[in-house]
């Protein structure tokens, strides 16, 4: 998930340098970028769509656009540029689907190894997971997106602002609103369950 950690290692070329090579149709550089970014991108889509196949297809579309790009300004951060592409593809996808309700999450796709956890803890963890994922799905698409960008994709507010094309202050406010909304949904669910 934390793809930018790789880029900080001194021996590896930065994403921006690789992207400049990709502009010259360097397949090795492109494959390196794919290796670094496929996981964060697939998960960016998956956390919102809950569909593995569609998430991978959209990620491939992003990479195809990266490969076909004929312009890239190295002064912009590569991750910002990449997520901007991803965000536009997601919006297009929602438009095509007319925001149909996301499907139920697929079971057993978690990366966590199950061996070290007791069955009770596993059940508890799954319950918590189901609860937070269910609440997240109830948020409006824009709020889901902004929460996922800020929580999981390792982006600064200024980067998210560039991706969404809005002021950084508004991003901050919207993240807070989304979180408050999510808290409210979680509380309502707990009341419905009788556990609150």
């Amino acid at each position: 998930m934390n793809a930018t950690q790789h880029t900080t290692l001194p021996l590896l070329p930065a994403d921006e340098a690789l992207m400049l090579q990709v502009l010259k149709k360097d397949k090795v550089a492109f494959q390196q970028l794919v290796k670094r970014w496929k996981n964060p991108l697939v998960n960016y889509f998956y956390r919102q769509l809950r569909d593995q196949e569609v998430s991978e297809d959209l990620t491939q579309e992003v990479f195809i656009r990266v490969w076909k790009a004929d312009k890239y300004e190295a002064k912009a951060k590569f991750s910002t540029w990449l997520y901007r592409l991803a965000y536009h593809l997601l919006v297009d996808h929602y438009r095509k689907q007319k925001r149909q309700p996301p499907q139920e999450p697929e079971v057993l796709l978690e990366t966590e190894p199950a061996t070290a956890i007791s069955p009770e803890s596993q059940t508890l963890l799954k319950d918590q997971q189901a609860q937070i994922e269910g609440a997240l799905r109830k948020l409006p698409a824009a709020q889901q997106n902004i929460l996922i960008l800020s929580k999981f994709q390792d982006l600064k507010y200024s980067q998210i602002a560039e991706i969404l094309n809005c002021p950084a202050n508004r991003v901050k406010v919207n993240v807070f609103r989304a979180l408050k909304n999510l808290t409210h949904i979680l509380k309502e669910e707990k009341v419905d369950d009788g556990s609150f």
């Binding site: 494959q31 593995q52 490969w67 918590q128 937070i132 929580k151 807070f176 808290t183």
Partner: protein, 133 residues
């Protein structure tokens, strides 16, 4: 992972929700992801190369679009041809089929002045014959 809540005065429940988001599950990218991606890219490149071979004026997608259009066009084209076959002989003054009714005084004077290129009945028979054969 970035924590947006440096401020101490934020409600506790909101902070807890932020922490709870850690439980959202991740997915694993399938093993064939990169192979499929490279195959798609090669396919796109070969299509583009074909486009260049066709003169670089029209991309393959335009050829496909034109092909589809011509596939469909025979339906309206046939309708237009049939309409013309019936309209031309009757509308033009030179070729119009004019049925002159016999004058009441002299019924034998009836003459058929009409000259026409196609006889609609024969064309209809021909079309029926083609469609049945």
């Amino acid at each position: 992972m970035m924590d947006p809540f440096e401020a101490q005065d934020l409600p506790l429940d909101v902070k807890e929700t932020w922490q709870a988001l850690d439980d959202v599950s991740e997915t694993r990218v399938s093993d064939h992801f990169e192979a499929r991606l490279m195959a798609r890219i090669e396919n796109i490149e070969s299509l583009e190369a074909q486009g260049r071979l066709t003169g670089g004026i029209l991309s393959p997608s335009i050829w496909q679009w034109l092909d589809g259009l011509f596939d469909f066009l025979h339906v309206p084209a046939l309708a237009i041809v049939i309409a013309l076959l019936f309209w031309l002989p009757t509308s033009s003054p030179q070729t119009a089929y004019r049925l002159d009714f016999p004058s009441l005084e002299n019924p034998r004077s009836m003459q058929n002045h009409g000259t026409y290129i196609f006889e609609p009945q024969k064309i209809l028979k021909l079309l029926i014959y083609i469609s049945r054969s």
